[in-house]
């Protein structure tokens, strides 16, 4: 599903964010990317979502070579991807319904389809009762769950989450990770960038550890980490 081959990413300032990244993520796999701040976790996700362009190497997502996607085709490509942010980035002047409906409205779904899928997505994150509220009326954890509902409502093939539990307490963080697992179980490929290594170690999923823009180690709880 996602393949990085000798990928380098250097920002115009000269900062080498990623260096010689090689990794392969299968369809339906759930992978955690961990590392300290500045390790390159967010950059890796940004490259997959074409927020930034890599400077060398090859990235293939869902069979598409990202280098060959022209700027005017990026929006169509992004409709395959759901994105979750640390600070959830909801539209505060819209209702929860409107926030979650956004990806469906963009892709031109019918009104009935939007209504049905938004309700289903909010039901999945246990927030159906808040459908007509505004984000500011919700707690931090609830807002993050709205962000998750928005990211999955259009049934993306890939779900990217950048520090999704960064603002949550441990119990809510654990619930959030379990929620991601549920989406993964229905076939969605999930990539989560998180610095909370202690928690993600218990998730029994593959973990990629970055350091200074390079892959430091790769493995899971059952297998020994392989140093790179």
């Amino acid at each position: 599903m996602i393949q990085f081959t000798n990928v380098f990413m250097t920002y115009p300032s000269g900062n080498k964010a990623l260096q010689n990244i090689n990794l392969n993520i299968d369809k339906g796999e759930m992978v955690y990317i961990s590392g300290r701040s500045g390790a390159g976790k967010s950059t890796l996700l940004k490259l997959i979502n074409l927020i930034d362009r890599h400077t060398r190497g090859q990235i293939i997502v869902k069979g598409q070579n990202l280098e060959r996607i022209k700027n005017n085709r990026i929006p169509i490509f992004r409709r395959n991807i759901g994105f979750i942010f640390q600070n959830h980035r909801l539209l505060n002047d819209r209702t929860i319904f409107d926030n979650v409906a956004l990806p469906l409205v963009i892709s031109g779904s019918s009104h009935q389809e939007v209504k049905r899928r938004v309700q289903a997505a909010l039901d999945k994150v246990d927030l159906l009762s808040k459908i007509n509220n505004c984000p500011m009326e919700l707690s931090g954890g609830e807002q993050q769950r709205v962000g998750v509902a928005r990211a999955v409502v259009h049934r993306p093939a890939v779900l990217l989450a950048d520090e999704p539990t960064g603002n949550l307490d441990p119990a809510l963080s654990w619930d959030m990770m379990k929620l991601f697992e549920q989406f993964n179980q229905v076939g969605v490929t999930v990539l989560i960038a998180s610095h909370e290594l202690d928690m993600i170690k218990h998730m029994n999923k593959r973990i990629i550890i970055l350091n200074g823009g390079r892959i430091l180690a790769m493995g899971d709880n059952n297998k020994k980490f392989i140093s790179h």
């Binding site: 927020i51 005017n72 929006p75």
Partner: protein
């Protein structure tokens, strides 16, 4: 295909009403902006109405352009009639009136009160006179000169008089006024473009966060720019409406005094307003400027908002 059209129409309808909603959400700022646009549009529209009325007034004077041909005193009435018939066949002459010398004398006697003095004279001192109206509607100095030169060399003609200089001057003044109005209108149209463009630029800036999110979830540029373009449309429509109200109200205020003035000059002139066609033109122009201003702003600034 049917579904695509439905989706496209639904997204347009959504952007249409969303932009109207956004306009209503911030009424004070938007109304102030619209008033500025309306005043900027009212000036050229008002100038245009002024010019139209000035042309209506001056066209009455243009039609009064006449060439007076004084025939030789030796020409008798029959010869004068023949000569009048001859020149009336010219393409550049629309109409002629022959004032025979006897009639001229009788009228002069009647008007001057010198009956006794004129009776003493052995012969009628008045020549036969032909009043010529050219075919061209507005005074044209070169055409008039050409006609006069051709008539002057004819043996029957003693003298020719015409006074078109002041009309010519008026026409030149109107030409200058037209040019000034054109320049002012262009400058005000640019001002409207800048006002709309700047308002949309600020709007893009305030929706920066939403634009970023929309782009992240696959919103195309055309999807994102649509509400801003409709905002430009609303500024155009409401700005045009305010301009129309201002011009119409001004016409209403001025019509009474202008009527009174025209009565003093024994004229039935009445102020003419924008009319239906020009009202449509005003709204069309306002909408065009609104859309163009927003389109320029959107093209210029939307690309700078990218997800981080």
């Amino acid at each position: 295909m049917n579904q695509l059209i439905k989706t496209w129409l639904a997204q347009h309808a959504q952007a249409f009403f969303f932009s109207l909603g956004q306009y209503a959400k911030n009424p004070v700022n938007n109304i102030l902006t619209t008033i500025v646009i309306g005043i900027s549009l009212a000036f050229p529209a008002g100038f245009y109405v002024f010019l139209s009325n000035a042309q209506i007034v001056s066209s009455g004077w243009d039609n009064a352009v006449e060439i007076n041909i004084f025939l030789e005193t030796t020409i008798d009435e029959q010869q004068a009639t023949d000569f009048a018939n001859q020149i009336s066949k010219r393409n550049d002459i629309a109409d002629i009136i022959l004032i025979k010398k006897d009639k001229a004398l009788a009228e002069y006697k009647k008007l001057s009160g010198f009956t006794n003095v004129l009776d003493v004279l052995d012969e009628n001192p008045f020549p036969n006179v032909i009043l010529v109206k050219p075919t061209y509607k507005y005074f044209d100095e070169s055409k008039t000169k050409h006609l006069v030169e051709e008539l002057r060399v004819m043996p029957e003609v003693d003298n020719i008089q015409y006074d078109g200089k002041w009309i010519n001057r008026l026409a030149k003044i109107i030409d200058i006024v037209k040019l000034v109005i054109f320049i002012l209108s262009t400058l005000l149209a640019i001002a409207v473009l800048l006002i709309v463009g700047n308002t949309i630029r600020l709007s893009i800036y305030s929706y920066r966060h939403e634009i970023e999110i929309t782009k992240l979830f696959g919103g195309t540029d055309s999807f994102i720019q649509r509400p801003f373009l409709y905002s430009g449309l609303w500024y155009g429509i409401f700005g045009g409406l305010i301009a129309w109200i201002l011009v119409s109200a001004s016409m209403q205020i001025l019509s009474g005094p202008v009527n009174n003035l025209s009565i003093l000059y024994a004229s039935n002139f009445q102020l003419t307003g924008l009319g239906l066609v020009n009202t449509f033109c005003l709204f069309g122009f306002a909408i065009l400027l609104g859309l163009l201003g927003s389109w320029i702003a959107v093209k210029r600034h939307l690309r700078s908002v990218e997800p981080k």
